[in-house]
């Protein structure tokens, strides 16, 4: 296994726990705001690491750029979605947990 392959594999494996913990947070956290916090980590860091790892593993610049584009689009969509859910929850009068 070459060094690049090992680094790529490591990135993908490092990304996995973020998905696991994000899902765990979605299921276990007490209210909408804390769940959003957990999910945003999954989208941003977890997907970023997986995309980076896959891009290194593919060894092709074109595929790497496409994976980067997927990650950037996901960042925009995730931030917008999280903002919308948070605003709607606030507008409906949901108190953040612990306040």
């Amino acid at each position: 296994m070459s060094l690049a392959n090992a680094i790529g594999l490591l990135c993908v494996l490092l990304g996995m726990p973020f998905f696991f913990l994000g899902t765990l947070g979605l299921l276990r956290f007490p209210d909408a705001y804390t769940r959003l916090h957990a999910l945003a980590k999954t989208d941003n860091v977890g997907l970023g690491l997986v995309c980076l790892g896959l891009a290194i593993l593919s060894g092709s610049l074109a595929i790497g750029l496409k994976l980067f584009l997927i990650w950037v689009l996901m960042l925009i969509a995730s931030a917008t979605g999280a903002g919308l859910i948070g605003r709607t929850a606030l507008a409906r009068g949901m108190k953040p947990w612990g306040l």
């Binding site: 689009l73 925009i76 931030a79 917008t80 903002g83 919308l84 605003r87 709607t88 507008a91």
Partner: protein, 310 residues
């Protein structure tokens, strides 16, 4: 991969049950949208990426948006509906469904092998494109596609004849990010769609996925509060774009007769160009039809504050 396929099939059946039998319409609609996304994955596993693209864009995207917008206009009720344990008609429907499934399996079993694939592959070099699906859709069986585009056009005419569209209600919670998202993403939708259209000549893609992607992008922009500049006036651009696909296909079908060919038989050297032109025209019409279906009525002659007041 067998485990993945089994999980996928199990999830599909479970989601179908959820979509039809869960109490609460909102959960049903969400189950249906997720069902569409997993169905697209199933098509990918069956090595039919064309159908997967169409399923994801139309089955999950456009239909999901339609169902959600219909849900938003329904009066809020808290009736739970009849739980499935108390529905005697299921004693008829479940065996009937199983019998239909059995008959379909028998029919699929009795299909002639290897089908028409070899025939298509033999005439593929003359069709002007290298992708068999596009060759069948826009050259070999272009007449069927003409009728399909005609059905879309008829459906849009029927919807417009119901009257003016209800104005899309403004989002309940104003978010500057949502408007910006609509603005940023629409060029991306157009880019993807142009890529799919171009790719259709040699790989999965083509007019239907391309049109569906732009249509979904248009619906998303309207949901984000944008107002299209296209108007539904008598000579407005919307009508021209809607009828462009059908009109171009008809013009080509008759135009080749002037060159001494039979109805809808492309001259050998021009086939590739004709297919590309037809794909472009059909893709634009499909996109506008999908947005028109979502708007549920004739768009106004002028967008703007006076249209919102009506």
């Amino acid at each position: 991969m067998l485990v993945f396929d089994a999980l996928l099939a199990g999830a599909l059946i479970w989601l179908a049950w959820q979509a039809t039998h869960t109490p609460g319409l909102f959960r049903s609609v969400i189950s249906f949208i997720v069902f569409g996304l997993l169905m697209a994955l199933a098509w990918v596993r069956l090595e039919a990426p064309d159908i997967a693209l169409a399923e994801a864009a139309i089955g999950a995207g456009a239909t999901g948006a339609l169902l959600l917008s219909a849900l938003g206009r329904l009066a809020v009720t808290h009736e739970a509906g009849t739980p499935w344990q108390e529905r005697p008609d299921l004693y008829f429907w479940i065996p009937a469904g199983a019998a239909l499934l059995g008959l379909l399996t028998l029919a699929a079993w009795a299909l002639p092998t290897p089908g028409l694939g070899d025939d298509v592959r033999r005439v593929l070099p003359d069709s002007g494109v290298a992708n068999p699906v596009t060759a069948v859709l826009l050259n070999i069986r272009a007449f069927d596609t003409l009728l399909e585009i005609g059905v879309l056009l008829l459906a849009t005419i029927a919807i417009w004849s119901l009257g003016r569209m209800p104005m899309p209600s403004a989002p309940a919670v104003r978010s500057p990010a949502l408007t910006a998202l609509g603005r940023v993403l629409f060029p991306m939708f157009v880019l993807v769609s142009a890529y799919l259209l171009w790719r259709g000549s040699h790989a999965p893609g083509g007019a239907f996925p391309a049109g569906a992607v732009v249509g979904a992008g248009g619906i998303l922009s309207i949901l984000a509060g944008a107002q299209p500049w296209l108007t539904g006036g008598v000579r407005g651009p919307w009508r021209i774009l809607l009828s462009l696909g059908f009109a171009t296909m008809l013009a080509v079908a008759w135009g080749v007769m002037a060159l001494g060919q039979p109805f809808f038989a492309y001259p050998p050297g021009l086939a590739g160009l004709i297919v590309l032109v037809l794909e472009l025209a059909a893709g634009l019409s499909i996109a506008m039809s999908l947005v028109a279906l979502y708007l549920a009525g004739q768009p106004p002659d002028h967008w703007g504050p006076e249209a919102a007041r009506r």
